[in-house]
Subunit: 357 residues, 2 copies
C-alpha cells in the first residue's frame, strides 16, 4: 500500500512514522526536500508533479489545507482523495466554513461577513467586542484583530473578505479528535482541554468531559460525507460546546494520542482512509503535550525535558523561527494534578523567560 | 545524532521507527538493501564498509549478535559500541554464556560442556532427560536435540562443542526487558509470560510477577558493565527464576512494550546508549503480542487481525519462509482474561490449521 500525503510538515512526518508499522510506503508532495515529512518519506514529489504523485499513490490525503487546488481536484477525480475536496475547500475561506456550520445547525459564535476591512470595522460595532479575521490565509492566529465597540482600528490591505465574530467569553477551550471511516462509522478520542496563547496551542491534556462535542462531530462529519480524522476546536461556556473551527486533518491538539492511548490520531487516520478496521480508542492514562515553539531544540533542552518522568520528545527537525512549531513533548501521569505539574515543569524548561507558565 | 545499527532485521526496523521522533538519523550495516531496517534507515552500508559505517555514527549498537567480530572490534576501539563486545561475544558460543552465568552466581540449569556430538551423547546419560545444544549458531530452536537417558541419538557434524543441559521441567517461561544506562542506573519493564513452541516465541503477555528476575538482571548487567536493553529469558518453577539465556539487545518478548507502556524497549535502548534520561517504565494496561511466523501477511489477514479491538500490526515486510518471523500483532485489554481471549482469537486467525490455539 502506498499513501500519498499532500504537504511535508510535521503532521505528515508523524503520520509516516506511525504508519511504517503497517508496512505502508509514503509519497509526499511539496516544495522542500528538507522538510520533516520529506526526510522520512519513501518518495518525494515536487508540487508540479502532482499528477505522477497521485497516480503513484493508492490513496491521497492532505496534512495541510492551503494547498494547490489542482492537486486536490486531480486526486478527487481519480477517486483517491480522503477526506474529500469539499471538506478541504471550506477551510480555504473562513466565511465559507462559518456559513456552512451555521446552515447545518452546528453551534458557532455570532458572526457577520464583510467584503472589505472598512465594512468589517463598521459591522463590528454591532457587537460589544469582536474579532475581525481575514477570510483567507489565517491560521495560528495570523490575520486576526480584536476590537471593542467604538474602538479605532487600522487594517492594511482593505480589499478582502473578513469574518467579524462576536467575542465569545468562554470558560475554556477544548477539542475532539474524531474519525469517520469509509463505511460511515464514527469514533473519537476523549476530548482534551486546550490552552492557546496568541492564537497558537501552547499545551493541552486529556481527558476532558464531552459537553456535546462528539454529537457535533458526528453531525459535521456525516454532513460532509467525511473520511479520516478531523480535529474540531470548541469554546466551552456554561457546560455547552460552541465550535470555533474544524481542521480536516490530524490536529495539534491530538498529538497527546501518541502516548497513553490505544491508538494515535495518525494511525487512526491512516486506517480510516485505507478502509482498515478501527474501534473506539481507549485512553490508558492522563496524557498531554507542551508545544515547543520558536526556540531551538538543543541537547540541553532535550536532557532537561526527558528528565521529566514518562516524557517523550518529538523533534520536527525544523529551523527555529519566531512562532514556529518546532516540536512537542508528550507527558503522561497517573492523575490530572501530576500531569499539570509535569506540564508546568516542561513549560518552565522550554520558556524560561516567558510569562507562559 | 546518528546511531549505527549492526544488522538490518525487524529489531533494527522497529528501533528506527521508534527513534525517529527524537530526530535521530540511522545508519545500518548489512548485506541486504531490501531488509526491513535497510528500507527505513537514513543510510545503508555494506558489511565490508564497517569502518566508514562506524566513523559516520555517533554510537553503534547491534540488533543481532551473530555479526562480523571485526566490525564490533572496530566500533569498540572507537569507544562507540553499546553494549560492549564482551556482552555480545558471550552469545557467540553457548557454553561461554552458560559458564559465565554460573561463575557469576546466576541461577542456570545443570549443564556439561562436550567437545563433540559423541561426547555430548555420552555425557547426557548423567541426566534423566537432557537437551543437547550446539554451542555455535543456535537460535530460535535451531541445533537442539532432546534426549532421555539411554535413548539413541544421531547427530551429523560431530566435531563441535555442545552444551548438554539437564531438562528442566518448569511451570512456565517468562522474561524481563531490563535496561542499564551509561551511569549504571538499571530499570526494567514489568516481566511477561512467554509461550514458546518448537523453540520460537509464539505469544506473550505482561505483566507477570517478578520471581526475582529484576535482581538477577541487575547482577548480570552490572557484572558485564552493560549499556542498553537486555532481554533475559527464564524458566519459572516453584516461584523461582532460573535463567535460560540472555539476549544482548532488544528482544522479541519486549515487543508488547510498543503498546500500553510509557516507553517501548526500542526507545529505551536508544535513550540509554545515547546517554539520555530514563525512568522506570509504567505499564498502563494488560499488553501482549502474537508472532506471525512462516505465513504471508496479506490484506485478508490484516483486515481480520485489525478487527480485534485495540490491536496493532507490525508487518516486517519480509518474504514468507517456514519458521521465519514476518510480523507480530500487539494487543491490549483491560483484564488478563480479556487479553488472553484476544490472543486466542489472533492465533486462530494467523494459524487456522494449527494445533497452536
Amino acid at each position: 500500500m502506498r499513501v500519498g500525503i499532500i504537504g511535508t510538515g510535521q503532521l505528515g512526518w508523524m503520520m509516516i512514522i506511525e504508519g511504517r508499522k503497517l508496512g505502508i510506503e509514503f509519497n509526499v508532495l511539496g516544495s522542500d526536500r528538507k522538510a520533516p515529512a520529506s526526510k522520512v518519506a519513501s518518495y518525494f514529489y515536487e508540487d508540479l508533479d502532482y499528477r505522477k504523485f497521485v497516480d503513484d499513490s493508492d490513496v491521497v490525503t492532505a496534512e495541510f489545507e492551503h494547498v494547490d487546488p489542482a492537486a486536490l481536484e486531480y486526486a478527487q477525480d481519480k477517486g483517491k482523495l480522503f477526506p474529500n475536496k469539499e471538506s478541504l475547500d471550506l477551510k480555504l475561506e473562513r466565511h465559507l466554513e462559518k456559513i456552512y456550520l451555521k446552515e447545518h445547525g452546528i453551534p458557532v459564535t455570532n458572526f457577520h461577513v464583510a467584503n472589505s476591512a472598512e465594512e468589517a470595522i463598521r459591522i463590528s460595532d454591532e457587537f460589544d467586542e469582536s474579532i475581525l479575521k481575514t477570510s483567507k490565509g489565517g491560521y495560528d492566529g495570523k490575520g486576526q484583530y480584536r476590537k471593542k465597540r467604538g474602538e479605532k482600528l487600522k487594517i492594511d490591505n482593505n480589499d478582502q473578505v473578513f469574518v467579524v465574530e462576536e467575542f465569545f467569553n468562554y470558560d475554556f477551550e477544548a477539542s475532539i479528535i474524531a474519525c469517520r471511516t469509509k463505511k460511515g462509522q464514527i469514533i473519537a478520542h476523549r476530548p482534551s482541554y486546550n490552552f492557546n496563547q496568541d492564537g497558537i496551542l501552547m499545551y493541552n491534556y486529556a481527558p476532558c468531559d464531552d459537553f456535546g462535542m462528539f454529537e457535533i462531530a458526528k453531525k459535521l462529519m456525516n454532513s460532509l460525507n467525511y473520511t479520516g480524522v478531523m480535529g474540531i476546536e470548541f469554546f466551552i461556556r456554561d457546560g455547552k460546546a460552541t465550535v470555533n473551527e474544524y481542521a480536516p486533518r490530524v490536529h495539534n491538539s491530538g498529538h497527546h494520542t501518541l502516548s497513553g492511548s490505544s491508538i494515535s490520531q495518525f494511525e487512526m487516520h491512516l486506517r480510516s482512509i485505507l478502509d482498515l478496521p478501527l474501534d473506539t480508542p481507549r485512553l490508558f492514562t492522563h496524557s498531554g503535550i507542551v508545544n515547543i515553539i520558536g526556540r531551538g531544540i538543543d541537547a540541553g533542552i532535550i536532557e532537561q525535558l526527558l528528565s521529566i518522568s514518562e516524557s517523550k520528545i518529538y523533534d520536527y527537525g525544523k529551523e527555529p523561527r519566531p512562532r514556529r512549531k518546532l516540536g512537542h513533548i508528550n507527558l503522561t501521569a497517573e492523575s490530572p494534578d501530576e500531569l499539570l505539574q509535569k506540564i508546568s515543569t516542561a513549560k518552565k524548561i522550554i520558556y524560561p523567560d516567558s510569562r507562559i507558565h
